[in-house]
C-alpha cells in the first residue's frame, strides 16, 4: 500500500513540475511585461530541464505503482490516461531535442497537463487484473501504442502553432472559426476537470433508480447535480431539482456529465473572451505562435508523425493483433477500439500521402494533425466510456 501512496505523491510532483515548466516556457517565449531583458534562452533551458525532471518523477510514479499493484499500471482509464500524458511529455522531449523550440513547449506541455489532470478524474483505486488482461502483452502492446500516440500528439501542438500563426484574425474564415472551436473544446476539458472537483467537493450528486430496457432495476449514481434522468426514475438520495426525463436508451448519467462539462467550458470561455482577454482566445495566442516560422511548425508536425506513426502501428496494430490472437483467439475482431486504432493509422497515412503526392502542406496538413489528435482522444475517451466493447476498462 505504501508504494501506491508514494506513487501518487510522485505523480503530483510531476504534475507540479510540468506546470512550472510551462510557465518558464511562457516566459522564454514572451518575456514578462516588466522585464523585457530576461534571458529567454536560459528560461527555455530551465523549462526543458524541469520537464525532464518532471518526466523522471512521473516514471517513478509509474514504477512505484507497478510495485504496488503487481502489474504494469496501464490497465484502467486512470492508469492508461496518465501514461498517455507521460508519453506525450516524452514525445515532446524527443522532438524538442531535435528542434530546441520553446514555443513547442508552450503549446505541448499544457496539453499534456490537461491530459494528466483529466486522468486523475477517474478512479485511481487499485483493482485486480482479470485473466484476459493478465499477460506480458499488456505492457508491450499498451506502452508502445501509448508512446506512438504521445509522439503523434506533438503534431497537434505544432499544427496548432502553424494555424495560429497563419490564420488571419482580422477577417472571417473557416480556419478562424474552427480554431476558436478547438480552443473551446480544450476549455470544455478543463471545464470537466474543474466542475468534477467542485461538485465532488461539495457532494452535489444524487442517486436515482429506474427500470432499464431489459426490465431490470438499475441505479445511477450522479456526482454532479442531476439534470437528466431516465424515464420513470425515482430519486433515492440527493436533490433532483428540475431534472428532465429522457428515453431509456439514452445514458442520462453520461449525458449529465457531458452537459456539465460543456457548461463549465462555456463559463471559462466567456470569462477569458469577454473579461480577461477581451478578444478571441486564438487571437490572444497568436503573438506567441508567431515566434515560430511556418516552415518549422509544418516540419515539426511532419517529423513527429514520421517518428510516431511507425511506433503506433507497431504497438497499436501489430502487437495488438498478436495479443488479440493469444487472448481472444482472433487477431482482428472489429471491436470499436480496434477499428478506431485502424482509423487513427489511416488518418495519418492519409496525411502522409496527401503531403507527398498532392502537396498538402501547411494549413490543410495542420488541420489533419488537429483531426488526428481528435481521433486519438476520441479513441481514448469516447470509445472507452460510451461505445462499450471488449476493451472498455470503465
Amino acid at each position: 500500500m505504501e508504494w501506491i501512496e508514494w506513487s501518487s505523491r510522485m505523480l503530483f510532483i510531476a504534475f507540479f513540475l510540468y506546470a512550472i515548466s510551462t510557465v518558464l516556457f511562457t516566459i522564454a517565449v514572451s518575456g514578462m511585461r516588466k522585464d523585457r531583458n530576461v534571458n529567454r534562452v536560459a528560461y527555455g533551458k530551465y523549462a526543458f530541464i524541469l520537464a525532464i525532471i518532471g518526466f523522471v518523477a512521473q516514471m517513478t510514479y509509474f514504477f512505484m505503482r507497478w510495485a504496488g499493484v503487481g502489474y504494469a499500471p496501464v490497465s484502467n482509464l486512470y492508469e492508461y490516461t496518465t501514461f498517455f500524458g507521460m508519453m506525450m511529455v516524452l514525445g515532446f522531449l524527443v522532438v524538442y531535442g531535435i528542434y530546441k523550440n520553446d514555443v513547442l513547449g508552450l503549446f505541448a506541455m499544457p496539453v499534456a497537463l490537461l491530459v494528466i489532470a483529466f486522468a486523475s478524474m477517474f478512479s485511481s483505486e487499485v483493482a485486480p487484473l482479470i485473466p484476459a488482461l493478465n499477460s506480458v502483452w499488456l505492457k508491450i502492446h499498451v506502452t508502445t501504442a501509448a508512446l506512438g500516440q504521445g509522439i503523434l500528439a506533438i503534431s497537434f501542438a505544432s499544427g496548432l502553432i502553424f494555424l495560429l500563426n497563419e490564420t488571419s484574425m482580422k477577417e472571417q474564415s473557416k480556419s478562424r472559426t474552427w480554431l476558436e472551436v478547438t480552443m473551446f473544446v480544450l476549455m470544455c476539458t478543463l471545464g470537466f476537470i474543474i466542475v468534477s472537483m467542485l461538485f465532488k467537493g461539495i457532494g452535489a450528486g444524487g442517486v436515482v433508480e429506474f427500470t432499464n430496457d431489459r426490465g431490470q432495476a438499475e441505479t445511477y449514481e450522479y456526482f454532479m447535480p442531476i439534470l437528466f434522468v431516465p424515464e420513470g426514475a425515482q430519486l433515492l438520495s440527493g436533490a433532483s431539482g428540475l431534472s428532465l426525463e429522457l428515453p431509456n436508451w439514452i445514458n442520462t448519467l453520461k449525458l449529465n456529465t457531458l452537459i456539465w462539462s460543456v457548461i463549465g467550458g462555456i463559463v471559462i470561455y466567456v470569462l477569458l473572451r469577454f473579461v480577461i482577454l477581451r478578444k478571441r482566445v486564438a487571437e490572444a495566442l497568436q503573438p506567441l505562435a508567431k515566434k515560430v516560422d511556418l516552415d518549422l511548425a509544418d516540419e515539426i508536425s511532419y517529423r513527429s508523425i514520421a517518428i510516431g506513426l511507425p511506433v503506433f502501428i507497431l504497438g497499436g496494430l501489430i502487437f495488438a493483433m498478436i495479443w488479440a490472437q493469444i487472448a481472444w483467439n482472433r487477431f482482428w475482431g472489429w471491436d470499436p477500439k480496434e477499428v478506431w486504432a485502424l482509423i487513427t493509422m489511416l488518418t495519418y497515412i492519409y496525411y502522409l500521402h496527401m503531403r507527398i503526392q498532392r502537396g498538402w502542406t501547411g494549413t490543410k496538413a495542420a488541420w489533419l494533425c488537429v483531426g488526428g489528435f481528435g481521433i486519438i482522444m476520441f479513441n481514448l475517451v469516447f470509445v472507452n466510456l460510451v461505445i462499450a466493447g471488449l476493451h472498455s476498462y470503465a
Binding site: M1, S30, R36, R40, G68, V69, G70, E125, V126, A127, P128, I130, P131, A132, N134, S135, W137, N165, E166, S168, D213, W249, I250, Q286, P287, K290, K291, D293, L294, D295, D298, E299, A306, I307, L309, P310, I313, L314, I318, I326, A327, N329, F331, W334, P336, V339, W340, L342, L346, I349, Y350, H353, M354, I356, Q357, R358, T361, G362, V383, G389
Partner: protein, 514 residues
C-alpha cells in the same frame, strides 16, 4: 519547381490510354483514387462503431428488436441499412479489394521507373534541373572548394560521386524503397486475409468437455483426443491471500473477481480401433490451457474460451431409511451417464423408473429441459422384502412421496464436474499474415526513419550551382549541409518553397521587440 516525385520518369499511367486495360490501370494507379479509397474506408469503419455489430449483441432477442429497443429509432435505421454487419458487407470488402489492387498497380507503375531512374542517375545535372530544386543557390566558387566539400560530405556519411567539376552526394537511398516495401507487405497481408474465406485454410471448433471426459477433436478429423483432467476457476481472495489483500476495496464493490480460468488436459492420438469400435488411444502430451496461454500441438491451438458456470452432476448417492425400524440401507450411487436400472440393498430393491437430468414441471408433468445433468431428479420405486412397492420423486430441494411411505430416500452425496468450452483452431494463413505484417513494418520504418537526401554541385559557366533534394524534412537537410557550404565558402542555398505569413498579420508580430 520540378516535380521530383519520380525523377521525371515516364509513368505508364501518365501516357494517353489506348485500351480498356490502360484505363483500368490508370484508374488504380491514380493516387487520387487511392486516397478516396482510404477516406471511404475511414468513414465506413467509423460508421460501423456507432452501434455494436450483430456479432457482439446478446442473442436472446431477434436483432431487429434488439436494435430498436436498445438504441431507439436510430438503432432501427442502423439495422435497416445493414450497418449491423458492416465489415462483411459487399461494399466494405469491395473497398478493401480495390485498395489492394490500387496498392499493387501504383507500386508497379511508380516503383519500377523510379528504380531505373535512381540507378542510372547522372552526376552532372542541367542548370534547369538544379534550379528546379527546392534548395538552390548559385555564386562564386572554385573546383578546390568542391573537392573540400566532397570530403566534408563524406564525413557526414554521404556517398559521393564525381564527374569532373560536378558532384553528386547521396544518402539513405534505400529509404526511398520504404513505401514500396510497405505496400508489398500490405498486399501480402491482405491476400493472406482474403485466403481465409476458403474453409480449407483454417479450422475452428468449440468443444465442450466435461471434467473427466475425453472427446475426439473434430478439427483434427478425429486424429486427436483431448481429456479434460480438471477445470480450475480461481477467484481473487482478499481475505485469505496476502497478495490479493490490496484489492479488497475494489472486490467488495465489484463482487467476486476471477483470477484464473484454466483447464488441465491430456492429449491422445488415435492409433487404431478396438474390436468394440472404441478408439485405441496413445497419450501424447499433458498440459494446460488458460486465458492468454493457449495449449499448442502440431498446427493446432487450444484456447480456454468459456466454461459452464453451472457444473454438471456426474453422480448422486442416496441412503434409504426405514421409518418404522430406523434401519438404514445404502448408500447407493446413481451414475448419471450410465444409470443402473435397479439397486439391491439387503433385500430392499430400488428401481429407477425415470431420470430427468434437467428437471422442470411442465403442464403439471415432470419433464427435462435439456439432456445436461444440471438439475437432476429421479423417480424411484422402492420394493420392500415383503413385495410392497412405493414411489418417490426426489431431486434438488424436491421430495415428493406419500406421507404413509415406509421408506424415505435421502441424499447422501454428489459428484460434480465443470465443463470447459475449448476453442480448437488451426490456420495455415498465419505464416502469410506474419510475413506480410513484418514486411509492412520494415517498409514503414525504412521509409519514415531514413529520409533520402541528395546534394548536387557543379560549375556552370563561371559560377557554381548548389542544389539539394530530400523526400522529407528539407530544413533538416539544410541544417546538415548548410554549415558545410558555409565552411567551404561555396554559395549558400535558399529554400525556394517557404511559407509566407500573410503580411497583414505582421503587425501583431512582436518579433521586432526583442
Amino acid at each position: 519547381m520540378l516535380d521530383m516525385k519520380y525523377e521525371g520518369a515516364d509513368l505508364r499511367s501518365k501516357r494517353r490510354p489506348k485500351s480498356v486495360i490502360d484505363r483500368v490501370w490508370n484508374f488504380f494507379a491514380s493516387v487520387k483514387v487511392g486516397l478516396w479509397l482510404i477516406a471511404l474506408i475511414i468513414v465506413g469503419s467509423a460508421i460501423g462503431t456507432i452501434f455494436p455489430q450483430e456479432m457482439y449483441i446478446p442473442q436472446q432477442l431477434p436483432p431487429e428488436q434488439y436494435y430498436l429497443e436498445e438504441y431507439g429509432t436510430p438503432g432501427s435505421i442502423y439495422y435497416a441499412l445493414g450497418f449491423h454487419n458492416l465489415y462483411t458487407s459487399w461494399w466494405y470488402i469491395g473497398l478493401i479489394v480495390m485498395l489492394t489492387l490500387s496498392l499493387i498497380v501504383v507500386s508497379i507503375d511508380r516503383g519500377v521507373p523510379l528504380y531505373k531512374a535512381l540507378k542510372n542517375q547522372p552526376v552532372r545535372r542541367t542548370e534547369r534541373f538544379m534550379k528546379g530544386q527546392r534548395l538552390f543557390g548559385q555564386g562564386e566558387g572554385t573546383e578546390a572548394q568542391i573537392d573540400e566539400m566532397e570530403a566534408s560530405l563524406k564525413k557526414k556519411r554521404y556517398n559521393v560521386k564525381r564527374d569532373g567539376d560536378a558532384l553528386l552526394a547521396e544518402k539513405h537511398r534505400f529509404g526511398r524503397w520504404g513505401p514500396y516495401v510497405n505496400h508489398v507487405g500490405l498486399v501480402i497481408f491482405f491476400l493472406g486475409a482474403m485466403l481465409r474465406v476458403f474453409p480449407a485454410f483454417h479450422t475452428d471448433t468449440l468443444e465442450w468437455v466435461r471434467e473427466g471426459d475425453t472427446v475426439s477433436l473434430e478439427a483434427t478429423d478425429g486424429e486427436y483426443y483431448l481429456r479434460n483432467d480438471q477445470f480450475i476457476l480461481e477467484m481473487y481472495d482478499p481475505e485469505n491471500n496476502e497478495e490479493d489483500a490490496k484489492f479488497a476495496a475494489a472486490i467488495e464493490k465489484a463482487g467476486a473477481v476471477p483470477k484464473n480460468y484454466e483447464t488441465e488436459l491430456t492429449l491422445f492420438k488415435k492409433t487404431g480401433t478396438n474390436e468394440d469400435g472404441s478408439p485405441q488411444l496413445e497419450q501424447v502430451d499433458v498440459g494446460s490451457t488458460k486465458v492468454n496461454h493457449p495449449f499448442k500441438f502440431e498446427k493446432y491451438e487450444v484456447y480456454q474460451e468459456q466454461y459452464s458456470s453451472r457444473p454438471e452432476f456426474l453422480s448422486m448417492s442416496f441412503m434409504l431409511a426405514d421409518k418404522q425400524t430406523g434401519d438404514e440401507y445404502g448408500p447407493f450411487k446413481v451414475d448419471l451417464e450410465n444409470p443402473e436400472k435397479s439397486y439391491d440393498l439387503n433385500g430392499v430393491t430400488v428401481t429407477l423408473k425415470d431420470l430427468y437430468p434437467d428437471f422442470e414441471v411442465k403442464d403439471g408433468q415432470p419433464n427435462t429441459k435439456s439432456p445436461r445433468a444440471l438439475n437432476p431428479a429421479f423417480f424411484f420405486n422402492v420394493e420392500s422384502p415383503e413385495g410392497e412397492t412405493e414411489s418417490n420423486l426426489i431431486g434438488i430441494r424436491l421430495n415428493v412421496a406419500d406421507e404413509e411411505n415406509r421408506y424415505e430416500v435421502q441424499f447422501a452425496g454428489t459428484e460434480m464436474a465443470s465443463t470447459s468450452g475449448l476453442r480448437v483452431k488451426s490456420d495455415s494463413t498465419y505464416p502469410i499474415l506474419i510475413v506480410g505484417a513484418t514486411i509492412f513494418m520494415i517498409g514503414i520504418v525504412m521509409g519514415m526513419y531514413w529520409p533520402h537526401r541528395r546534394v548536387w554541385i557543379r560549375r556552370h559557366e563561371d559560377e557554381v550551382l548548389v542544389a539539394g533534394f530530400t523526400n522529407k524534412n528539407p530544413s533538416s537537410l539544410r541544417r546538415e549541409v548548410s554549415p558545410l557550404l558555409e565552411q567551404t565558402g561555396l554559395p549558400m542555398w535558399e529554400d525556394q518553397a517557404r511559407f509566407t505569413s500573410k503580411p497583414e498579420n505582421e503587425s501583431t508580430d512582436e518579433r521586432g521587440e526583442s
